[in-house]
């Protein structure tokens, strides 16, 4: 029993330690206030779509092919991808957007 608890704690810790940089960015820009993101604590926002299966998602914002480059561009400047998008421009830098996109495309399968 104790061993199981220990394994669980270790697993959670490992989970938190993966992509610390990306996780810090996701937390700083408050992505979860609008989107559900697996293993990221927050209010499970439902203003935007869930980001639970990003690698399998065919389109970004329902308009452009889902590639790391397009996703990063959308995060950095949503209206460049879809002028009508309700996703706000949060002032994410290109480099930060690249890190967040990589993180999102690595989760959920």
């Amino acid at each position: 029993m104790r061993l199981q608890a220990l394994t669980l704690v270790l697993a959670l810790a490992a989970c938190d330690e993966a992509d610390p940089e990306a996780r810090a960015l996701v937390a700083r820009y408050g992505c979860v206030s609008c989107h559900e993101i697996p293993n990221v604590p927050g209010p499970r926002g439902n203003s935007g779509p869930p980001l639970t299966h990003m690698p399998r998602q065919v389109y970004v914002a329902g308009v452009a092919p889902n590639t790391p480059e397009v996703l990063a561009r959308f995060i950095a400047d949503p209206q460049a991808i879809d002028p009508r998008s309700a996703m706000p421009d949060l002032g994410v830098s290109a480099e930060e957007a690249r890190i967040i996109a990589g993180f999102l495309l690595g989760i959920g399968g």
Partner: protein, 298 residues
Amino acid sequence: MRRSRRILGIGLAAILLAGAAVFSLGEFYNLTAIRQHPLWVFRGIALGRDALIGMEAEYVAVPDGFELRADPASAALYQKHCAQCHGAPGVAAEEFALGMMPVPSNLAAAAKRRPAQEVYWFIRYGLKMSGMPAWDMRMSEADMWRLTGFVGAMPGLSPAAYAELLEQAGELPDAIRPVAVEAGPLKTAIGSVERGRAAMQVHACRSCHLIPGIVGAPDVFVGPPLDEAGGRAYIAGVLRNTPDNMVRWIMDPQAVDPLSAMPSLGVSEALARDMAAYLYSLSSLDRSKAEPEGDEDR
């Protein structure tokens, strides 16, 4: 005790053996579209199918004034919606249809042995795993009966007469167009929520979206999952979520966002309302019941 257990064991073994025999001798392992089942399996399936359809079609009520009739309008309807797969007098099916399994049947032959109620049943409900689609909710009741009458008249139609009818018809009607679905008893529907679910099934929504209540592949994310779509603040990421906006979006996605990958499927307003009702019934937060605050886009 021991004896009954032995009988049970033998029974189970016999069932397993029979299953394995049907699977291998029936060539159920062959999933290609280039080989039909062996004759005895084919006949068996056809026998079961016809028995079930015969029973179901008895409950189809033939409308007053129905007649087997080939006129220019019904010929145009047939050419537009049926001939691609079934061919017509003197007209081959399209190339893709020649490779279908089962091969779409010749309807002049079918009309000789099937009553009109069965023909109508096939048109309206389609046939699972045969390639025959259901036209329910996507074609008006009047057009479905017009097609039924045309198919019934096909055995008496020469290739020249068919060509002549098409000539007289001129422009062919649009493939799929918004149709006002007439009020009438629907086999699958009990209310607008349930009708919305059925409408989403026959508009192939599930091929791009995960939708609770509609069975399909577990990993399609062409569009977002629709389980919480009714509770989301925005529709398509651009439009404030209100029932009217949801209907607008379903009917004409490009009017809402010209860049959207969601295609226009020719959904009528009535059915779009039913679909919206279904979506709102799914989500934990039902925004159709929220306070209306004007109808602006954001």
